[in-house]
Symmetry: C2
Subunit: 398 residues, 2 copies
Amino acid sequence: MTELRPTEDTVSLARRREADDPSSPVARFGTDRALMLDAGVAIAPWQIAYQTYGALNADKSNAVLVCHALTGDQHVGNTHPVTGKPGWWTSMIGPGKPIDTDRYFVICANVLGGCLGTTGPASTNPATGKPYGLDLPVITIRDMVRAQAALVDSFGIGELFLVIGGSMGGMQVLQWAASYPERVFACLPIATGPRHSSQNIAFHEVGRQAVMADPDWRGGRYLDFDVSPRKGLAVARMAAHITYLSEAVLHRKFGRRLQDRDKPTFGFDSDFQIESYLRHQGMTFVDRFDANSYLYMTRAMDYFDLAADHGGVLANAFKGTKTRFCVMSFTSDWLFPTTESRSVVHALNAGGASVSFAEIVTDRGHDAFLLDEPEMFKIVNGFIASAARARGLKEGAR
Amino acid sequence: MTELRPTEDTVSLARRREADDPSSPVARFGTDRALMLDAGVAIAPWQIAYQTYGALNADKSNAVLVCHALTGDQHVGNTHPVTGKPGWWTSMIGPGKPIDTDRYFVICANVLGGCLGTTGPASTNPATGKPYGLDLPVITIRDMVRAQAALVDSFGIGELFLVIGGSMGGMQVLQWAASYPERVFACLPIATGPRHSSQNIAFHEVGRQAVMADPDWRGGRYLDFDVSPRKGLAVARMAAHITYLSEAVLHRKFGRRLQDRDKPTFGFDSDFQIESYLRHQGMTFVDRFDANSYLYMTRAMDYFDLAADHGGVLANAFKGTKTRFCVMSFTSDWLFPTTESRSVVHALNAGGASVSFAEIVTDRGHDAFLLDEPEMFKIVNGFIASAARARGLKEGAR
């Protein structure tokens, strides 16, 4: 009988070290710079871990903020300190890439509630000297953006040239445009929506229940006992991972093909390739991610509802905005279908905003934004070039 | 913190009694009537629990076999002995209903591998005197049908007038047509397909891993310890339940509405109605279903691939069939989308079979077949009336 049997190893120990003392640069904010949260509580001290690429120009007009997705982090363009793998968006960001680090100063920060150096449930609670666990207030997308704004302040940057991100990152992009319209010249939300749907919440709730059903979760205090709800988190990841892919891509990649054999085993081992693939996804995830952070990230996405925050009218979130938008979706994304992107576009149109919209034809589902999608790169390239001209950024100049 | 905290109660004790000595009639087969399984092993003795409604006519030509879905059972038209709820298809079956018990003799049997009286993992293994657990060989859809054929034999019925069922029940319908073409006059597979897709297998694998990750599963031997993997099974049910509904119906029924309050709690309780609904689905399921049976049922569906069993050509499964078919799907069913039904229709057409096909417009998703869908009833009515005429069954006569 093959169960999910992940084993604690050096990888996850490395990850646990990253929570308080990350290998990334960290901006620390003391009790005089408390962060007020939507939950109605302030946290202090707090910190935000980030990576930068490229150089900030003299008038600080070439800064690009990249917002990461649910299980992403600040390591967008460098080798990951825990997994040793390449950054999660090296196809998009780097010298000569659509977001050209020879030209732009790119910032990517671990989100509030994360587990790689920004204050989150795995961070030490200054009041107790122990990990926060669930004593950290629930975080919202707006809180994440508020924390990022403080980081951007610390660089002395007034207006960001571009804010870009996919999925939960795209939610942050939209929130930036709504919270700080005067600080965002251009923004590019990808594979996202203005709110989390009922079905999206449902899948997240399954994931949370899988984590909390694991006896090693221990009411969220597992770090105190040097354990973690690895099986529960792996199941959560497996369920979520299905939603990141389309039926078509699963069929193309795995179909009903068996794992290294001709005939089924008539047992409960990984008979099918798709089973083995999913188990692998679950098991590798638990090494690099904190289970409580997973609860906080999913909750933040569930709570996201830009229209509700603006009297029920999405257009009000972007009223009178001068920001230029490029909204992008993928045909086979059933987690954030094109209808969600269209509702953003309609709201922007209603306010007379500058917006372009692209629906990219692909069978790769939601995760397409992380993959090699030439059409996506072309559109990002074009949008950035046009925005750069409008912003007066000279070709090749800093 | 609200966790899934189902409590063992009288309901599930009643269910456990049903495994060996059900309140339904039971056909028992001794060692002289061993059942050969696709796994290559024979089981004996074995038993099959069933319910019947209406009366068999003199020439035994009015028998209808109803095949139940993954978590269904034989209690299609009577009060359920464990939950006390009405039968699962009382809208379809009963006096004056589309399957009219004043006219037809309806049989519904608990499937092989089930937990309500037919031999399954919760049944006592005659070799050990303890529950089978995972010592029962893995069951296939063909094995279920083989067992049903033995039950039909025991009634002295040669040819069934109709075999009908939805989802996993529909798989059995297709398998009946393939295994015993001369014993099925008409068949009506609903919301099903000729094989389980990669995405379908993926969701089932998540459910199985959720069950097996629960320490109370104990390698499948939980009944020996008088425990059961209730939290794991509840998570499995929650994940599966999402796939039974459409995004549209979730939006219509729940949307982003909060549970009995105006503002989110900023915690991990059931804030949203959809969360509370799913938790309820998970918790009530564990009272009436055996966790190992869930593993066996999902595996049987995953293994189902009619084309593969017939040299890779689905049409070969129905070659030369005289059975009349009515194939039905629902527009919003993303678990068994219409394309799956169409592939069955194409295969039947290729062989020149008598087949009609209906795709019913509804936003209720896969579970529509269990609900009050007037269009479905109308089509079933019409198909049965036409088949009855062809079979020479007189109106109102037995």
